[in-house]
């Protein structure tokens, strides 16, 4: 019982620390980038949620914001960038094109980023309003808070 209590407290603390200090990597391709810029700037600040600092390198970030359409040519690049990120990492699919291919159902567009990398939060909209982006970010923060961390000193059997 004591062990469980301590690990849940530690889980909560680690979750709290991680969710309020997200370094995001904006993988911006298309029109949603404009709404990303709006969400990141003074009017709809994401800095107040702790996610303000944009790390322009996947190795230094833990949140991959896939913003905009991913074409078939771009998919291997996205996969490479995702693989370069270190654990723990989360992915937000921002905008209708990243969620499902959006209005482009044709030869050139990947129908949703989750066909390339695993996604945690989907933010629909074309483009989503900055308030929706902030709502998605808060949901991601809830998810991070509730994540059961992987404690290495316990023997994992699998």
């Amino acid at each position: 019982m004591q062990g469980n209590f301590i690990t849940t407290r530690l889980n909560a603390m680690l979750g709290w620390g991680r969710k309020y200090s997200l370094f995001h990597y904006p993988y911006v391709t298309a029109c949603c980038g404009m709404e990303y810029m709006s969400a990141a700037c003074a009017h709809f600040d994401i800095d107040r949620f702790g996610a303000g600092w944009t790390r322009f390198s996947p190795r230094q970030s833990d949140l991959l914001l896939v913003v905009g359409t991913i074409s078939q040519k771009q998919a291997p690049v996205l996969r490479t960038v995702y693989d370069q990120m270190t654990e723990p990492k989360w992915v937000i699919a921002f905008g209708a094109c990243a969620v499902s291919g959006g209005i482009y159902d044709n030869y050139a567009v990947v129908q949703g980023v989750d066909q390339v990398i695993p996604v945690d939060i989907f933010i629909p909209g074309c483009p989503p309003r900055p308030e929706m982006v902030l709502d998605g970010l808060i949901k991601l923060q809830d998810k991070i808070q509730k994540t059961k961390q992987d404690w290495r000193w316990k023997k994992q059997r699998s």
């Binding site: 078939q72 040519k73 998919a75 291997p76 159902d105 044709n106 030869y107 050139a108």
Partner: protein, 159 residues
């Protein structure tokens, strides 16, 4: 008025080259034969016409015609402030057009785009590769017989 003057002059100067000259909806248009292109362009670039800018270069696919691909060029003259459209057609089995790279530098990328999307080759182009699609792409997307949703993923996709 000026549009018709230039059309008349071109038809008189190149009677075999210029097949048709008209101005539908106010856009001066000439239809030329493929082998006359390299004569007409230098003539248009000099005074008094001075078509110094190639605005656009594209292609339209008419699969039911014998000459399937119709190239469309839009020229613009800054000095005289007028536009001209040049059209020429090539058949599918001989889809080669002379390249305009030596006249205008943006013809480089525009011709690469037409090659990528339609498959029309350009004789004299320094580096004819695909522009938009990846190099391993099979087919030419903007042709009418290429299905809209035929995807060729570069990496294996989940689900």
């Amino acid at each position: 008025m000026e549009e018709t003057a230039i059309l008349v002059a071109l038809k008189r100067r190149f009677p075999q080259g210029v097949v048709d000259a008209s101005a539908p909806l106010g856009d001066a248009t000439i239809v030329v034969r493929k082998d006359a292109l390299l004569e007409i362009i230098p003539f248009l670039k000099e005074k008094p016409y001075e078509f110094a800018m190639l605005l656009d270069l594209t292609c339209v696919d008419y699969p039911e015609r014998a000459e399937r691909f119709e190239m469309v060029y839009h020229l613009f003259s800054l000095a005289a402030n007028r536009r001209l459209r040049i059209k020429l057609s090539v058949p599918e089995n001989a889809a080669v057009v002379d390249s305009l790279v030596r006249f205008w530098k943006n013809a480089d990328w525009l011709e690469r785009e037409v090659f990528d999307m339609f498959g029309v080759r350009f004789a004299g182009h320094p580096d004819l590769r695909r522009l938009f699609m990846n190099d391993g792409f099979v087919g030419h997307p903007l042709r009418k017989d290429y299905p809209l949703r035929k995807r060729q993923p570069m990496i294996s996709l989940r689900k």
